[in-house]
Amino acid sequence: MTSWINRQAFRPDITVAAFFAVIALFFYGSIVWTFVMSLTRSTLVPTYEIVGFDQYVKLFTNQRWLVSCLNMVIFGLLYIVGTLAFGMLLAVLADRRIKAESLFRTIFLYPLAVSLVVTGLSWRWLLDPSNGLQALMRSIGWEAFTFDWLTRPDRALYTLVIASIWHSAGLVMVIVLAGLRGIDNDLWKAIRMEGIPLWRAYLQVIFPGMRPVIASCVVLLMSEVIRGYDLIIAMTKGGPGISTEMPAKFAVDFYFARVNLGLASAASIMMLVLSLVLLAPYFYSEFRRRT
């Protein structure tokens, strides 16, 4: 083995080629394959007779899919705005020369190490109206306290938002905090000399200067939204009814439980298209910056 290795020339391109083959087959090849499937009538057994975009028509006349998409948009907007606002606020506060900063940071970030399954279950237990937060408030004398969103079709989606903000706020905090620590001290001096109030300094000078950092946070959070699966399974299973269904779950359900390969593939391709459309501006600016 050793002597074989030593006899080879310095050829990184062989490794690159092997890596490229894996990416080409399992990532891009799979996408093409999935796309082809989405053009067929495959249900339980795949057929490769192309029938065009029938599955997409079916998909967009499917009530559950439309609800899933709408849920994802509402959830996504609230989650991204909420996580950004909360995470940035925590970063700013943590940057104000506080005591026990590392303790606070450790507490704010630890949810990221917890799986979304455990996150979902914990919040499900906490928000369970019969013995969670609501029961506690009532037991300490606040009889009228009601927080039953988890069991209400019109509110359950917001409980997912709360749990996901809990999971990701620390991530935004850490990334933004790293950005804040990189800001030139002279800028702060100038701000102080001008007598600009702190909140305006952050909103009008500091954060606008950190646009790339914030953009990469948004990209991260968006991809979480599109992929969101584990949390829903653990917390609401898509219910009550179909009030918390989302596309990622729709696709997996139709692949494996309802075995409708064509429709599931169409749903997956729509998820991919959405990812690419949302990420395109980011990639464009990133690669223009680098080259």
Partner: protein, 298 residues
């Protein structure tokens, strides 16, 4: 996204907020801390309560007679379906899936990352773009073909299959992190080895890997967290004999018998969360650095 985020010297700003604002600041931070601690605190507290206590009170009451009975039940006899062997099989499966998957995906990522950093080609940028976009491809758009490929070679729903999927799906990420690190390593090192007639693999193994300890730790920690916490891939690719802890946990909780034993469920949830939490608390600095470096992870 360079990995070498040398921690900038903390710029100490004079707190120019008046006293009241300082107090408000700490109040807000403390309330936030409670918000973050509450869910896991609830799980921990109730895993220590006997069933009677949970039935009578609410979940947020402190345990009166804390004991580890629920933990013992969760470990040994909780039911995941027809089997009532507790979480032990799930923990063991997660361990034997996670360890090889982390080691292989980290080392393969290092090799690929080094190769990409050394690969001088006008196509290098295009390949980087393909890899980066690869991070953001929803698994759903690759799942079914992966199932088909693995079925054809007899690996679908096997132990080797689930490890393999974790390695493949993790590759773009680990490769990118290492590539970003290696483009910052002075090229003289590789060139000197090359002059001596060392092969690419020899250079990588004997010269490059030994100077990569930090990034290896960072990537291994991120991969460990990601793979241990995975649910979807384990559910689809592991097969009944190898279901990881996350999947077993949902089976325990959603089991008919599980519904009657909240304390056992919570002990099982905590057992699932402990390994990654321990890694997080022990490796805080690396964990944070990895997140900042891998801010493009999907």
């Amino acid at each position: 996204m360079s990995i070498a985020v040398a921690t900038p010297i903390a710029i100490r700003k004079k707190p120019f907020a008046p006293q009241a604002a300082r107090i408000g600041l700490y109040v807000f931070l403390t309330v936030s801390a409670i918000f973050f601690l509450l869910p896991l605190l609830l799980v921990a507290m109730n895993s220590l309560k006997p069933l009677e206590e949970i039935r009578q009170g609410n979940l947020l009451a402190f345990p009166v007679n804390p004991n580890f009975d629920a933990w013992v039940t969760a470990w040994k006899t909780a039911c995941t379906g027809l089997d009532c062997n507790g979480v032990r099989p799930g923990v063991w499966n997660s361990i034997r899936i996670t360890i090889p998957a982390v080691v292989i995906s980290t080392l393969a990522g290092a090799l690929n990352g080094y190769a990409l950093a050394q690969w001088k080609s006008r196509h290098a940028n295009l390949l980087m773009l393909l890899v980066t976009v690869g991070l953001f491809i929803p698994y759903q758009a690759m799942l079914y073909p992966t199932v088909k490929i693995l079925s054809n070679v007899g690996l679908f729903r096997t132990y080797a299959g689930i490890v393999f999927v974790h390695v493949i799906y993790g590759l773009p990420y680990t490769t990118l992190l290492f590539r970003n690190f290696y483009v910052g390593v002075p090229d003289e090192i590789s060139r000197a080895a090359r002059m001596e007639g060392a092969s690419f693999l020899r250079t990588f193994w004997s010269i490059i890997l030994p100077i990569s300890t930090n990034i290896l730790v960072v990537v291994a920690i991120l991969q460990f967290t990601g793979i241990w916490n995975d649910y979807l891939l384990g559910l689809i690719f592991a097969g009944n004999d190898n279901l990881p802890m996350t999947v077993q946990l949902t089976n325990i909780v959603n089991n008919a018998r599980g519904a009657a034993n909240p304390n056992v469920n919570m002990a099982a949830a905590l057992i699932t969360a402990i390994p990654t939490l321990v890694v997080y608390f022990l490796s805080g600095r690396y964990f944070v650095r990895g997140i900042a470096a891998g801010a493009v992870k999907g």
